[in-house]
């Protein structure tokens, strides 16, 4: 039997009278590559914020690896294996590429705050292997040569990749990618798809959950797809099933599936 990484039951998020997410339930299995689609304003990003702990739900339960986490802080979600990227990239702009990735290793290097303050822990000693692992990760993402540049100076595509690298550094069991290919040209997008697939294949236990507007990308990557509309789950199935679904077609009416 496969393990359930994340289980959500009747998760709701209301902003005033607006029901951004209105009762979402799902079970995500370990090692899957899962897509989340839906028309604009369907509540996809809000759902990601809820499931990754950035925003607290109005009601409903969320379990990460069997442990109830709804209402906890984002860092507690992170400690239980969740990691994410943001739709509007949020890098540490005035820090270097290397430091951005080291940020992802926070949990491995953050052994004791007191020791750190007293100057008893440093990247050179004790947690030295963190530096090495960060270097390896940068190489895997093709960012090693630029490691000492400030994040703010990176190209758009590199920023997206760095954000994923940073998330991977925290060794997540569940990785949320919020429109990873947004704003990229076809070639960059293609490369990114390859990168995500490679990441996922190399980390057999990693579950990837991604929002993507580009239907080609989602259909190519995902093993299963959740379709959201007006804050509700309207369909769940394989890419083929989604393609054939009238409900989904209906939701996108006015827009189009190829958009």
């Amino acid at each position: 039997m496969t393990k359930i990484v994340l289980a959500a039951r009747e998760v709701r998020k209301h902003y005033g009278g607006v029901r951004a997410v209105d009762g979402f339930s799902c079970e995500l299995q370990e090692g899957r590559l899962i897509g989340l689609i839906g028309p604009n304003g369907a509540g996809k990003s809000t759902l990601f914020n809820l499931l990754s702990g950035a925003v607290k739900p109005t009601s409903g339960s969320i379990e990460l690896a069997g442990e109830p986490v709804a209402g906890m802080r984002p860092d507690q979600f992170s400690r239980r294996g969740a990691a994410r990227t943001f739709q509007n990239i949020r890098l540490f702009k005035r820090l270097t590429i290397l430091e951005n990735v080291l940020a992802g290793f926070h949990q491995s290097s953050d052994l004791s705050l007191l020791r750190g303050v007293l100057g008893l822990s440093s990247y050179q000693r004790g947690s030295a292997d963190v530096l090495e692992r960060a270097g390896a990760l940068l190489e895997a993402f093709g960012l090693y040569a630029k490691r000492n540049e400030l994040a703010v100076h990176l190209s758009y595509g590199d920023q997206r990749r760095l954000e994923i690298a940073r998330a991977m550094a925290s060794q997540p069991r569940l990785l949320f990618l919020d429109e990873p290919a947004a704003g990229m040209n076809a070639y960059e997008g293609q490369q990114l798809v390859e990168l995500i697939r490679r990441l996922w294949e190399e980390n057999t236990q990693l579950t990837v959950f991604l929002i993507e507007h580009d239907m080609d990308v989602v259909m190519k990557l995902s093993q299963e797809i959740f379709v959201l509309d007006s804050g509700r789950l309207i369909f769940h199935g394989t890419p083929e099933e989604v393609r054939g679904s009238d409900v989904v077609r209906e939701a996108y009416l006015g827009g189009d599936l190829d958009a």
């Binding site: 990754s52 940020a103 000492n148």
Partner: protein, 317 residues
Amino acid sequence: MNALRKYALPLLVVLALLFPLVVTNAYYQRIGVMSCIFAIVASSLGLLVGQVKLVSAGHAAFFGIGAYTSALLTTKAGMPFLVGFAVAIVLSGLVGFLFSVPVLRLKGHYLSMATLAFGIVAQMVMLNWEGLTNGPNGVPGIPFASLFAFELNTDVRMFYFTFALLALLLWGLSRLYRSPVGLTFQLIREDAVAAATLGVNVTRYKVTAFTLSAGIAGLGGSLFAHYMAYINYDTFYPLESFMLLAMVVVGGMYSLFGPVLGAVLLTAVPELLRGLADYRMLIYGVVLVSVLLLRPQGILSGRPKHLELRPKEGAKR
């Protein structure tokens, strides 16, 4: 240029060590001591503002708590200096901790307002709790600082003592800023939300920074009290907090030495231009506004030296 950078620090240290030997004028030596003390306090604020982006607009309160603690323990309770000094650090750190735990939930401007209000309340306590602080009369007759039997009863001795403490502090801070903890501070400064999603317990780190900073400010306060021999509430008014902020921003808040430079400049220059004594505070204001306009990152714009990974032997490119 590189050579200059490499030798700048040792050169500065040597110059500073020679300073009280070459400059024998007591007035200038006094400025030297005050510069060191304010460099310590400004550095404590630099840790908050430049590393974690917590703008405390009431830092004079912690400076004052340190000064009063040390002054009262040595005068009223007859404790030796070192005890007063240690308790000053611990107590102002503790007050900083107790204040920061509830207040650090606030962000940006709201936090600044809360710290400003705290500074004002703290000064009112110094003024009105007459039984403890002598109220408006202040605390006179504070003994010299002393290291056991060795009294720091001259400007020269006090200069070396404060300078040594400043050097020690900067050494510690430079290690801290480059450590995993320092990096975490900077993550919070850059984007607290993103930091939290990577597992950073933001509040815990902010409280740590605040406690540490308040303790260091208290250390500066203790030195100040024992050097001046007399303190009253008037030194710890809200404008003093603003001047500390000015030192940090003018010198360069992201840099380790920025607050030090700012403290030395804003302490020494107005004193040296004695003819302009009346314009002192005006100069502070003008310098603050114009430095922001011309160099928003301050005079020293560098940041703590990067962590570097050297290219590995045979590493693929």
